[in-house]
């Protein structure tokens, strides 16, 4: 029994992605909900909203890795969500600002908000967004580069915990002011609006939005598998180890700076992908979608879903946003209080979030009902007595 895991070293890639029955089950249930239940149950309008909530889930998966597993709390994921969102918005805006449709402007061919702000030439950093492949490349590389630059010196100087969290929050606040202050270049507080087509494909139609919803779901599963793989490698165990015993890992010969930079950049990348898909489905991007408050919202979704469970984070984003929409439609003034109370309740009563309810209570209960023998538990009890 005891040498069991030695005889099955690591396992193949598929084994590690679907380790255990419960893992396959949770992916299957999520896939059924996202690909079958929601599209058949919801109207086109509601499905689009669900797609929008799923975009937040990308950032939440990143937080599960970065905050839950590696212990690095980032209150600034909105910044990276915004990098992806704005990149996509800038591409779509340029496509919507062709010389014919902007002929009434004093400078035709540039985005309308630039014309209103007396900008007469397209700024240099907008040029890459004329090409779709370049835009996609920027969505994937910009968050990695920026997050590496932002966190490298802090991690090298061993700034972690609350101090780092506050730094990330000030980063996102700075970027908010930066966008609002540069109205002529980024559209200011109004954001970048009136996005119409993607390579000539009208993204505002019902059928386009339905397709975008499915694209989002597929990307989401891609990110879930990628995250699960990262966590299944030795890197995942090193991250968990350094969260609790930083010194020990350092004295096992690891340079923790690079591990922390890696996971922070990975979380930033996921957030950026989510942001890009968000812009496609919502049709605009504004600084208020990426500021301090939305960044904290992302933390709340993750905490509610379970900060150690990537699938849980998806449910967290979906459920909290659904509740937000329902309650704020019915009781707009009380919603914030319900929201706050809900968060405090979850943190106090369920530190592992909804995922914890599943693994610690429901699953055990189902197992005891079905008389399924769980191999992990009896061994632990036996070992405690020896």
């Amino acid at each position: 029994m005891t040498t069991n895991s030695l005889k099955q070293p690591g396992g193949g890639l598929l084994d590690r992605l679907f380790s255990g029955r419960s893992s396959i089950l949770s992916y299957t249930v999520l896939a059924i909900i996202l690909f079958l239940v929601l599209p058949n149950l919801l109207s086109a309008f509601r499905l689009n909203m669900a797609g929008k909530y799923l975009c937040y889930a990308f950032a939440c998966i990143g937080l599960v890795l970065c905050w839950g597993h590696a212990g690095i709390l980032s209150l600034g994921q909105g910044l990276f969500f915004g990098i992806g969102g704005y990149s996509m918005a800038m591409f779509l805006k340029l496509e919507a600002s062709d010389p014919e449709s902007t002929s009434i402007q004093s400078t035709p061919g540039i985005p309308d908000f630039m014309d209103w702000n007396q900008v007469t030439e397209l700024p240099w950093f907008w040029y890459p967004y004329k090409s779709f492949p370049l835009t996609v490349a920027l969505i994937l590389t910009l968050p990695v580069i920026i997050s590496c630059i932002l966190c490298f010196f802090y991690f090298k100087g061993r700034v972690t915990g609350v101090v780092f969290a506050i730094i990330t929050q000030s980063m996102v606040a700075c970027s908010w002011y930066f966008i609002v202050g540069n109205q002529g270049y980024f559209g200011g507080i109004n954001g970048i609006t009136d996005l119409k087509t993607l390579n000539g494909w009208d993204i505002r139609t019902e059928s386009a939005q339905k397709i975008l919803y499915f694209v989002t779901c597929i990307c989401l599963f891609g990110c879930l598998f990628l995250s699960k793989w990262v966590l299944s490698t030795r890197l995942g165990r090193v991250l968990a180890a350094q969260r609790d015993k930083e010194e020990r890992v350092r004295f096992s010969g690891y340079n923790l700076t690079s591990f922390r930079v890696f996971i922070f950049a990975f979380a930033a990348l996921l957030a950026s992908i989510g942001g890009a898909l968000f812009t496609l489905q919502v049709g605009f991007m504004s600084p208020n979608l990426i500021g301090v408050v939305p960044s904290i919202d992302l933390i709340i979704y993750t905490a509610v879903g379970g900060r150690l469970c990537t699938v849980g984070a998806v449910y967290g984003a979906l459920l909290i946003n659904t509740a937000k929409t329902m309650f704020s439609e019915a009781y707009p003034t009380v919603w914030v209080f319900i929201y706050g109370a809900l968060f405090i309740l979850i943190v106090l009563a369920l530190p592992k979030g909804l995922a914890g309810v599943w693994t610690d209570h429901v699953r055990l209960w189902i197992r005891s009902l079905l008389k399924l023998d769980s191999p992990a538990k009896p061994k632990k009890i036996k070992s405690q007595t020896t």
Binding site: T3, S5, L6, G10, R248, F251, N255, S258
Partner: protein, 249 residues
């Protein structure tokens, strides 16, 4: 720092560290040979743990040099010192409670300690063989799949020693390895130490004189940050100065 090269594995010369003017370690010279088991004793606050912290880079020295295989350690970062071949065990067992014994040992395996190395790391035959061998040495073969938090206190101490052995260091620094162990566990630990010192050097801080007498080649007595005496156990036990500050009470 013009220090000469030596034949010693570890050569500490004029090592001084002061915290706000208080000299915790004061001009210490210490030489450790290949295959030597050196024990450092001394009353509380003598600077024993500080010396280990200085060697492994946890604390930065104010003055002096620490040379490991003639390589200066005082300006290296912790992980570089570990990779150079120095392993450190902490006073309280410092292991990863939520990982299994096997995973604890695996994390210490000295290959793939970079980000991408860790992503590609595979538990192959070589890794398993190494872990199996160490697990047997530290008496934990039957506990490999157990989560480390369920080990007894003594087993946790052994596990941390095992994590060092997996790293294959040439010098091991142990801070009170038998603290809180039962008599039987102490005996097993003494046997373990005698076994591991065959292939490497060990520096141990210890309070238990009976245990020290059983294992030590040479004993260094530290008092107020300075070396008070240095020699075999018999020499130390008959040293008047040592009796006065330490052994007498």
């Amino acid at each position: 720092m013009a220090t000469t090269n030596t034949d010693y594995l570890l050569a500490i010369e004029d090592l001084t560290v002061s915290f706000d003017g208080f000299k915790a370690v004061d001009a210490v010279n210490l030489y450790v040979d290949q295959g030597e088991l050196r024990v450092i004793i001394g009353p509380n606050g003598a600077g024993k743990t500080t010396i280990l912290d200085l060697i492994c880079g946890k604390t930065k020295s104010t003055e002096g040099s620490i040379k490991f295989k003639n390589q200066e350690l005082t300006n290296m970062r912790e992980h570089q010192i570990v990779r150079a071949g120095v392993g450190r065990k902490f006073q309280t067992p410092s292991i990863y409670e939520n990982l299994t014994v096997l995973e604890n040992l695996e994390i210490s395996y000295p290959w793939g300690r970079t980000v991408f190395g860790s992503l590609k790391f595979k538990r192959d035959e070589k890794v398993q063989a190494r872990i199996d061998k160490v697990a047997e040495q530290i008496y934990l073969t039957d506990q490999l799949d157990m989560e480390a938090e369920f080990l007894s206190h003594g087993q946790k101490q052994w596990l941390e020693i095992g994590m060092l052995l997996v790293q294959e260091p040439e010098l091991i620094l142990l801070d009170e390895p038998v603290a809180g162990m039962s008599f039987k566990e102490r005996e097993a630990t003494a046997a373990l130490l005698k076994e591991i010192v065959k292939e490497r050097s060990v520096i141990i801080i210890e309070h238990d004189m009976e245990f020290v007498a059983r294992i030590a080649n040479r004993v260094t007595v530290l008092h107020m940050g300075k070396i008070l005496a240095d020699g075999t156990m018999e020499e130390i036990q008959s040293n008047e100065k040592v009796k006065e500050v330490y052994l007498g009470h």
